[in-house]
Amino acid sequence: MFASKGKRLLQGLLVLLVISMVAAGCSSNTTEKSSAAGDAQAAKTLTMAWPRDIGPMNPHLYNPSQLLAQSMIYEPLVSYQDGKLVPALAESWTLSQDGKVYTFKIRSNVKFSDGTAFTAQLVKKNIDAVLHNKKLHTWLGMIPLIEKTEAVDDTTFRLTLTESYYPALYDLAVVRPVRFLGEAGFPEDGDTSKGIRSPIGTGPWVLSEYKKDESATFTPNPYYWGEKPKVDKVVVKVIPDAETRVLSFEKGDLDLIYGEGLISYDAYKELESTGKYVTKLSEPIATRNLVLNTMNAKLADLKVRQALSMGFNKEAMVEGVTLGLEEKADNILPPNLPYANIKVSPVKYDVEQANALLNEAGWKLPSGGGVREKDGQKLELELMYDKADLTMKSMAETLQAEWAGIGVNLKITGVELTVYIQRRKANEFDMNFYSTFGAPYDPHSFMTAVVQPGYGVSDTLAALPMKAEIDKKIKEGMATTDDKARTGLFGSVLTTLQEQSSILPISYIKQMAVYRDNVAEFKFPSNRDEYPLHGIEKK
C-alpha cells in the first residue's frame, strides 16, 4: 500500500514539475524573439557579449556598474583621443596663469536622452554629487584638490583647484566618476552614491531593453548632439564564461568580442587560425613591468639589477607565455602615451655579461656551480605574484629557470589577491609585477606611484641615490603649466628610472578584438575604458 502511495506521489510530483517547467519556458518565450542574429533586422543589430550584468549604470560609481554601459550612456567634458585631449561636452576651456582655475565653455546644443538641456548648472550638480562622497574617489588625483565648482551662466562652468595640477583635464576624461547624469536621474536627496533613478545621459546610446543578468539592448539616443551611431541596436548579452563566449561567437550569435579579459590568448589564436573572422590587436595600452625592490640589500646594488635585467631572454619569454599577443617592452611606459616618448637603449639578453656583472658585484659562484654567494649569504630572492593570474605565474616560472642559469635562486610565491595587495602596500616583497594603468591615466598615475608610498613603486625605489631628485622633478612636472618643461622633467625621470633598472619593462599589453566580417569600421579606443561602438558599421 505504501509503495503504491509512494508511486502516486512520485507521479504527481513529476507531472507538477513538467508542467511548471513548460510553463516557465512558455511564459518567457515571447520575450525571447528579439534576440540576436536570426532576426530580420539583424543586419543593423550589433550583438556582443559581456561577462556580467551591466549593473545600475550609475555614472558616479564603480563596480557593479560596468564601464561598457557607462561609456555608452554618459560623456565627459573633455575626451582623450590619440594622446591628446579634445573637446567633448565642453567645446573649449581656458586655464588661469597659476594653473588653478579651469573655465569650460559648455556646448550649447547638447540634450540629455530625456530631451532636457545640458547646462553648466548640471555640470556643477554632478561634480558636487561626486565630491559629496570624496572618499570613494580619492584615487583620482584631481578630486581631493577641488576647491570650488561654479556655474557662471548656462554655458560657463568654472572649476577651481587648491593647487596647480596638470592631470585635472585627463581626470575629467576618464569614464567614471566625472560624467553627467540628467536632472531626472538624480534621487530626491541628490546623493547618487546611494543609487540613481534612471540612467539618463548625453551619450550616443540609451538603454531601451534590460533583462537583469541576461541582456541589455541599447538604441541610439534621439537627442544625441554628435554624429549618430551607424547601427540601430547594440545587444549586450551577459555571458560569464570565456569559452561559452567563443562558442556563441562561432555559432553566429555574437558579432563582436571586445573587452579586456573577455577572450583568452588561446581562444584568440584559435579563432585567428580559422581564417573566418577578423582578429585585431591594439597598440600597446600598458606595460607589464617587473619591480626590483631596492630596499632589499641585494637588489640595492645596481650591478645586480642590471645582471638580472639582461639575464633572461625577454623576447622568448613574452612570445612563449603570451603566444605573441603581448609584445616585448623596452620602455617602462608605452611610448605612445603623452610625455613618455623617450629614447631608450634596449637591454640585450647577455648571460655572459650578466655573470660578469654579478662577479663584479662580489657574488661568486661556489665551486661546482649552484647559487652565488657573498659574505656567507646566498643570492636568493623572492618574486611575489597574484596566483590567479596565469600569465604572471608562467612568467615567474620562466624567470626562475632563466636566473638559475646565472646562479640566482628565485623563490616564486603565488598569493591570494588580498594578501598581494597587503604585502605590496607594506612593501614586503623583493620583486613583484607592476602593470601601468594606460590612457588616460598615464603617465601621471605612474608618476604618482613613483612619488607616493603605498602603490608598490615609491617604496621600492627608496634606496636609489637620486630618489629625492626624481620626486622633486615629478612634483614640478605635475604642477607646471608649461608643457615643454613637463616633457623635459618627465623625460628625465623616465630616463633615470630606465637606467637604474629597478623597474624592468617586460611586455606591452594590448587589447584584442575578434569580429565577423560583416562588422566594419572597428577602431580601438584611445581611452582604455571606452568602447568603440559609436562609429561601428554593419554590412
Binding site: 525571447e32 572618499k135 541576461e214 548579452k237 564564461d241
Partner: protein, 315 residues
C-alpha cells in the same frame, strides 16, 4: 513514528549551528579581511581611517564571541546583510535569482528520473547482454566526465555544429534543454546503475518466484511489483545528491550563462562578497540537511519497516 520524525527534525539544529560556527571561524582565520574586501569591491582606497571605520561598522572590533552571537541572531532573522558589491540586501537578490536555479534543478531531476528509470530497468532485463554493456559504458562516462566539459561538448556539437539549440542564455524551453542534460547526466548515470542493481536483487526475492509460479506475466511482475520497491532507493539517493546538484548547478549556470543563484555565488567569490558567500553556504546547508530529512521521511513512508527496525534496535 512521530518521535522518530521529531528527533530527526531536532537533529538539524546542531548541524546548522555547527556549520555557522565553522563558516564564522573560516572567514575570521582566512587571509581576507571583510572590511578590506568591502573596500576593494566598492572601489574605495583602503586608508587606515576608512578601514577602521568599516571594521567598526561591521562589528569586527568586537570580541569574537559577541560577533558570533550577533551573526547567529541575524541568521535567525534571515538577515544576511547587504552585498558588498551591489549594496542591495543579499536575501532580496537571492530570492530574485532562486527561481532560475530551481527551474534548472527541477528540470534536471525530472530528466534524470525519466531517463534513468527505463535505462536501469532495461539494463536489468538484458543483464550481461549488449544493451546492458552499452548502458554501463554510458553510465561510467556520465559519472566520470566533469560537468563543464560535458557542457562544452554539447554546446559544440548540438548548438554550434548542428545548430539545433541555443548555445547559452535563458528564455525558451529550448534554452533549458542543454543545461538540464548537462546537470542531469551524472544523476542519470548513478540512478541507472542503482536501479539495475536493485531490480536484479528484487527479482531474486521469494515473492517474485511465487508470482511467476502463479503464472503472472513477467511484465506485470516487473512493473507492478518489482519496480515499485526498486524505486525507493532512488528517492533516498535524490536527497543525498541534491547537494551535488547544487554544486553542479554553479558550474552549469556559469557555462550556460544561466542567470541563477550559482552564478551569483561565483561572482561573490571573485569579488570576495562575504555576505553573499555566507548566505549561499547557509542555504546550501539547509537544503542539504532538509532534503536528507525529507528523503528519510519518504523512505519511512514507503517502507515502514525502517521505523520498526529503528524501534527494535532501540528497545
Amino acid at each position: 513514528m512521530g518521535v522518530y520524525i521529531g528527533k530527526r527534525v531536532l537533529a538539524i539544529i546542531p548541524i546548522i549551528l555547527f556549520s555557522s560556527l565553522l563558516m564564522f571561524v573560516m572567514i575570521r582565520v582566512g587571509p581576507v579581511d571583510p572590511a578590506e574586501a568591502y573596500l576593494a569591491a566598492a572601489h574605495i582606497q583602503p586608508d587606515d581611517e576608512v578601514l577602521a571605520a568599516k571594521r567598526h561598522e561591521f562589528g569586527l572590533d568586537q570580541p569574537l564571541l559577541t560577533q558570533y552571537v550577533q551573526s547567529l541572531g541575524r541568521l535567525l532573522r534571515l538577515d544576511f546583510g547587504h552585498s558588498y558589491l551591489s549594496n542591495m540586501p543579499v536575501w532580496g537578490e537571492v530570492a530574485q535569482k532562486l527561481p532560475a536555479t530551481l527551474q534548472l534543478a527541477s528540470a534536471s531531476i525530472v530528466l534524470a528520473l525519466v531517463v534513468s528509470i527505463p535505462l536501469g530497468v532495461l539494463a536489468a532485463i538484458y543483464k550481461n547482454r549488449l544493451l546492458d554493456h552499452v548502458i554501463r559504458v554510458f553510465a561510467y562516462i556520465g559519472a566520470c566526465v566533469p560537468v563543464f566539459w560535458i557542457g562544452y561538448l554539447l554546446m559544440f556539437f548540438i548548438s554550434v555544429k548542428l545548430e539545433w539549440l541555443p548555445v547559452e542564455g535563458r528564455g525558451s524551453v529550448q534554452h533549458l534543454i542543454l543545461p538540464s542534460i548537462t546537470l542531469a547526466l551524472w544523476l542519470i548515470a548513478i540512478y541507472a546503475r542503482l536501479l539495475r542493481t536493485t531490480v536484479l536483487e528484487e527479482l531474486k526475492e521469494a515473492y517474485v518466484r511465487y508470482a511467476r509460479a502463479r503464472g503472472i506475466k513477467e511484465r506485470v511482475i516487473l512493473y507492478k511489483y518489482v519496480l515499485r520497491i526498486a524505486i525507493a532507493p532512488l528517492i533516498t539517493g535524490l536527497g543525498i545528491n541534491l547537494g551535488k546538484l547544487l554544486t553542479g548547478a554553479i558550474i552549469v549556470e556559469q557555462v550556460f550563462s544561466w542567470p541563477g543563484f550559482g552564478r551569483y555565488f561565483i561572482e561573490a567569490i571573485i569579488n570576495r562578497d562575504i555576505p553573499v558567500i555566507q548566505c549561499y553556504v547557509m542555504l546550501s546547508v539547509c537544503v542539504i540537511a532538509g532534503s536528507n530529512l525529507i528523503a528519510d521521511l519518504l523512505q519511512l513512508f514507503l517502507d515502514p519497516r525502517i521505523a520498526r527496525k529503528g524501534r527494535a534496535s532501540q528497545g
